[in-house]
């Protein structure tokens, strides 16, 4: 690929999604864009890029989606889910007792494993949540991946990564070669196609945000921009979960770490993080 073509695609990706494509990842272009080129009836990447240069907006979107990493699995890394169930949820039940409602946002919902993992946790806590209204919003840049999330269908490989067998038995049923998640869990999650670089205000306010393994693909200014926009969509005592390799430190002051809880952050304008930290 010609260097100017690489630069053109890299700029398109950065502008459209914040995704930073460094030269060492140029091999990804071929493996991910060739299927798209074939689907579009082009002979190769050169024709695809020529069409992109004609400001084909639909193609820009398809390329952005093709270059997005959609790896996800149920209860990924387990701790962010254990911590939610053991610390954050009881805290929400206490602090929201008068309004009896809360909202959770999975900002990179991908194929749905993260929002459905949270949905299963909430189902497991049904007795404590009787009379409560809660909502899980799953957003992603890719309409294709959200289509998969909405079907709630997963391969045998996907349901085995991270899913305890008790939950598999309780919330899934076999449908031919696939596993289908229970309608009750599916109905808790609302999916919306959303770009984190766009205006987030229409999404409303959230008490808990999962934005895991997204920031790693952004450069520092984009990380700061996205984190600051997310902070504005959170309640003052809201809780943010980032991926294991991500941090707010050195990026923005909009969040502060919760002591003893790796990857968990409180909105900085709020005050009390002690109740969410480890007891000392």
């Amino acid at each position: 690929m010609k260097p100017e073509d690489f630069d053109y695609i890299a700029k398109t990706l950065k502008d459209k999604s914040g995704l930073v494509l460094t030269k060492d990842k140029s091999y990804l272009l071929e493996s991910r864009l060739m299927p798209l080129a074939r689907k579009r009836g082009f002979k190769g990447l050169d024709d695809l890029i020529a069409q992109l240069r004609r400001r084909d907006l639909a193609l820009e979107k398809e390329i952005t989606e093709a270059m997005t990493t959609n790896e996800s699995f149920f209860f990924r890394d387990s701790k962010p889910f254990d911590q939610f169930r053991q610390v954050v949820l009881p805290n929400l039940l206490r602090t929201r007792a008068s309004r009896r409602s809360f909202r959770i946002w999975c900002a990179a919902a991908s194929s749905g494993q993260e929002p459905y993992s949270l949905g299963m946790i909430l189902k497991e806590e049904a007795a404590r949540l009787a009379g409560w209204r809660f909502e899980i919003v799953g957003t992603d840049l890719s309409s294709d991946i959200l289509r998969k999330a909405r079907t709630g269908l997963y391969s045998q490989f996907e349901v085995q990564r991270g899913m305890p067998m008790q939950l598999l038995v309780k919330y899934f049923k076999k449908k031919d070669d696939m596993w289908e998640i229970d309608q009750g869990v599916r109905s808790l999650v609302q999916y919306k196609e959303w770009n984190l670089l766009d205006d987030l205000r229409p999404l409303g306010q959230f008490d808990v945000v999962y934005c895991r393994n997204v920031l790693i693909y952004f450069d520092q200014p984009t990380k700061a921009q996205v984190l600051e926009a997310i902070a504005k969509q959170m309640t003052d005592d809201g809780v943010l979960y980032l991926g294991g390799a991500e941090t707010v430190l050195g990026v923005t002051n909009a969040f502060k770490p919760i002591p003893g809880q790796r990857g968990v952050y409180a909105v900085a304008r709020g005050t009390d993080v002690k109740s969410l930290g480890e007891e000392t």
């Binding site: 890394d77 045998q156 490989f157 085995q160 991270g162 067998m165 598999l168 899934f172």
Partner: protein, 123 residues
């Protein structure tokens, strides 16, 4: 060092599982059926058992019941690993005392994830 007893009548499965588990720093032992596995457990209980369901001589379910009855047998982590992949089989294994369940075919990622889930490996 943690140990895992691989119980499967397929030599190929035992070889694949052994390779993966050794990469995860497990000491491994192999048995081709439940009876051989039980004899090994009577001598020394492993930390975990990766257990097939359908095997000649003594199947996985019978082995698990007998092994659980041994002194200390309740502490062994049992992960079923089988081609029986419908809900009723998973439920049956769970009720009989299995700690986790892997549906074949499996790969190192799944095995590692399941072993993490049951606390045999760090996240």
């Amino acid at each position: 060092m943690k140990s895992c007893l691989i119980v499967d009548d397929s030599k190929v499965i035992r070889m694949v599982a052994k390779k993966i588990l050794q990469e995860l720093h497990f000491e491994t032992q192999e048995a081709e059926d439940g009876k051989v596995a039980l004899d090994l457990c009577r001598r020394q209980l492993p930390t975990a058992v990766l257990l097939d369901w359908n095997m000649p001589v003594m199947n996985g379910m019978e082995f698990m019941r007998e092994m659980r009855a041994l002194p200390g047998g309740k502490n062994v982590i049992v992960v079923f690993c089988t081609t029986e992949n419908d809900i009723s089989h998973i439920q049956e294994a769970m009720e009989a005392g299995a700690d986790e369940y892997i549906m074949k075919p499996f790969d190192s990622e799944i095995l590692q994830a399941k072993f993490q889930q049951v606390g045999l490996l760090e996240d």
